[in-house]
Amino acid sequence: MTTVVSTAPIVRRRLGFDLSKPVLVTFAVILFALIAMPLSWLVLYAFSSKSGGFTLDNFHRLVTDAAYLDPLLTTFALATLAALICCIVAAPMGWLVARTDMPLRRTVRLLVTASFVTPPFLGAIAWELLAAPNSGLLNQLYRELTGVEQGAHLFNIYSFTGLVFVISCYTFPYVFVLVANSLDRTPGDLEDASAILGGKAWDTARRITIPLALPSILAGALVAFLQAMTLFGSPAILAMPAGFHTMTTKIWSLFQFPPQPELAAAASLPLLILTVILLRAEHVVLGRRGYSVVGAKNSEPRIVRLGRWRWVMLTVAMLVLMCPVFLPYFALLNASFSKVASHLVWFNNFTLHNLHFVFYELSATKLALRNTFILGTLAATAGTVLALVIAYVHTRQAVRGYRLLGFLATAPVAIPGIVLGVGLFFTYTRPPFVLYGTLWILLIAFVTLNMPAAYQQLQSAFKAVHPELEDASRILGATRLRALWQITAPLLRTSVIATWCFIFVGVIRELSAAIMLFTSETKVLSVLIYDLNESGDLAAIAVLGLLMLVLTFGIVALANSLKFGSARRLSGTP
């Protein structure tokens, strides 16, 4: 939600010479190549028979064969449940940190961020260590405490419920962040206005606070649904042992020998179509009703005093955070230093062998780390630059056709990772662009997948820098580029760094597109971990997983320190 009170965009056309055409064409071509080509091939394949002719058979099989229909229904149920759970858990938590005097609110936010950047597949593996029915640490503890017979268990992570749980653990931050941010931005005046008219706390909550937070809850639920629907890692790790497929694992299994790319393409389309429909539906539901706050000056949000409940609420929040953060991290740490992943580490069975194995014996470690670093850096840089230029062109309306660029940059939001992976595979395994087997194809995938978020982030940053700041510089004699460089760029620095880090972290955790596109030479950390899971090498996974988390948190911390540093310097800018 942004304030609607914004200055009317000023249309300007005053370039010395017309750069607009080449810029527009170049970027349109780049974006087209990134998005339109893979999708076109995908659609083409979906309507192709093995011999290459037109057919509807693929779709016919999709809706009649239980082997495809079941995963489709399972995926739908999974995503719906996960989205529901996310809302039930995350919305109240968002309220607690944004609107109450619960202690340690900052810490809670930080921990949610931690679960946000934790790769979901890593979480799934960690939960295998915790809640596998027999060897899971929690189930062992349960048997220890209750003395029930061997084989009895409290949790079974290899189940539909288990999968819903693990997916919810790592999608609830989306709802949480959206709700907390929207509550942060809802002026306290709106609630005060209700109170002064006689609204009691509950009336105000029911009629004002909740309806105002509703769009963010809805948006959060939508994102959670889409995430759960398109996730590959967690179902691949948990659904198969439990004996069922989701759409993503099914698509992936269609690339098993002998590959059935036509069916895979056809199976990808429902995911794509559903995503597009849901994103459109969101607009329809919200309708004409303005949810953006009217009025210029925002007042401080009103803090609800919880009294004795403060600590109870904190305990509840911490219990929730046990699931995505404390317990899994502990399980990974334990497995890293344990001879057997299911044994608790103590002084007598402590070992450094796993570390030694990963860093000195596993020949893929170095390569995967290197590839991840190269791809992270390249994708973050290329993605930021691309998003920056498009955001600039769009907010300042610098060239004609800027709307098209904006649309293209946001479009990948509707493309699930695995679908993009399939599309890119079709596109770049054939002349004239044979990129399969190189890092380029992964780079394209990562840039494309991260483009919408990066673009949104930078676009709102550009909006916050009033064009008059640039104009002021130009009237004093600076060229357009100089004004950009000396005025706008420093003001955007924070957002640019944040975007860069966001993409980098996104690359580290990406699996669903990478799994379709990697080759032995272009393996990345996430794929390496997935491969290790296939053969059950949990100790090595734990070490690599921790390494991955350290890397991620390092980047996030770096981004934060830079952000706060420059925020202090730049405070007071509009």
Binding site: D192, L197, G199, P211, V294
Partner: protein, 352 residues
């Protein structure tokens, strides 16, 4: 409806007293303006009255009910007040009609009565054509009127307004000023109005309380505040007074640039440096030498023709510069020596 009484009211945040020992009585049915620059504590005072903030010291009474004290503070929803916020605080997810009748619905009023009241208030605030719009679809003035309607429809005992016009453009602001006064005359609620705009206060208020640094500097009718400021702050803040300084000669006179100046207002201590205010249009200017009491010689530094009047800047012998407004015809060139007459009844001696 009842009077509102603030007694020794203090609000501290840490060591800082944002509201510092204020006492003020607002008569039943009166409109009181809290006037002051930003940061003077006027909004906090209003929020103390509303009950959003609890006092550190002192108390607030409405009628004979104690509503706020450090020991107990009645929650805002129980005070039967209404408030118009600076941001209007219109709920963006409700239509104009839904916004306005919100308070009535909370009071569990039946549909017919709600409908009647709504029609009445819509007519008064001229909002009838807009009832089905959402706030995001209204102009600033329309939003302001919705906020007003929403606050008035519940017939509060007390109406609080927090800079309600500050978000409007100049023309609309002027128009709405009279609108507020007109509505107040219609309904006669006890009203507390917070503003930093002195002309807004002048137009609307029965009583103006000028605030500075958490304290009330002076409270009085608009005329009183304007004509008889008691402190330098009030003199400067209300209108644009010249404030000159001179050593006290006796209880009614100071020495200003070598001329004894007789003043009214506060008693003057002899020997003490005393500020005296006089408004630019109260000073008479003459190119011909004049004799008599309160005649001060000066030099014209610059003068500007303003159409209806002429604006002089003159300098007395001690270097003090004074603004003088005269009729447009009085054209004395820059650099000329002039004689100023500062009428004794217009020279207000101020408290230190």
């Amino acid at each position: 409806m009842a009077s509102v009484e603030l007694r020794d009211l203090t609000k501290r945040y840490g060591d800082v007293a944002v509201v510092d020992d204020i006492s003020l009585t607002i008569e039943h049915g009166h409109l009181v303006c809290l006037l002051g620059p930003s940061g003077c504590g006027k909004t906090t005072t209003l929020r103390l009255i509303a009950g959003f903030v609890e006092p550190s010291k002192g108390e607030i009474r409405v009628g004979d009910k104690l509503v706020s004290s450090p020991a107990h503070s009645m929650p805002p929803e129980k005070r039967n007040m209404s408030m118009i916020f600076q941001s209007y605080a219109l709920w963006p997810h409700m239509t104009v009609a839904e916004n306005i009748v919100y308070g009535l619905k909370l009071r569990k009023m039946d549909r017919d009565s709600i409908g009647k009241k709504l029609d009445a208030i819509l007519a008064t605030t001229r909002l009838a054509p807009l009832v089905q719009r959402y706030p995001g679809e209204l102009s600033g003035g329309q939003q302001q009127r919705v906020a007003l309607a929403r606050a008035l429809i519940v017939e509060p005992e007390t109406l609080l307004l927090d800079e309600p016009l500050s978000n409007l453009d100049a023309n609309l602001r002027e128009e709405m000023r009279f609108e507020v006064r007109r509505l107040h005359d219609t309904y006669r609620y006890t009203t507390v109005y917070v503003t930093h705009d002195q002309s807004e206060a002048m137009t609307t208020a029965d009583l103006i309380a000028v605030m500075n640094a958490g304290k009330i500097e002076q409270a009085g009718s608009p005329e009183e505040i304007y004509d008889r400021p008691r402190s330098e702050f009030v003199a400067r803040f209300i209108g644009s007074s010249n404030v000159i300084k001179g050593k006290g000669l006796d209880a009614t006179r100071i020495d200003f640039a070598g001329t004894p100046l007789r003043c009214t207002g506060e008693a003057i201590k002899s020997g003490a440096s005393t500020p005296v205010s006089i408004r630019p249009h109260d000073i008479a200017i003459s190119a011909a030498q004049r004799q008599g009491e309160n005649i001060v010689p000066a030099t014209v530094v610059r003068q500007v023709f303003l159409g209806g009047s002429r604006d002089y800047m003159v300098e007395a012998k001690d270097g003090t510069q004074l603004r003088v407004l005269t009729a447009a015809g009085e054209n004395i060139p820059q650099g000329s020596v002039v004689w100023l007459h500062l009428p004794a009844e217009r020279c207000r001696a101020l408290s230190g």
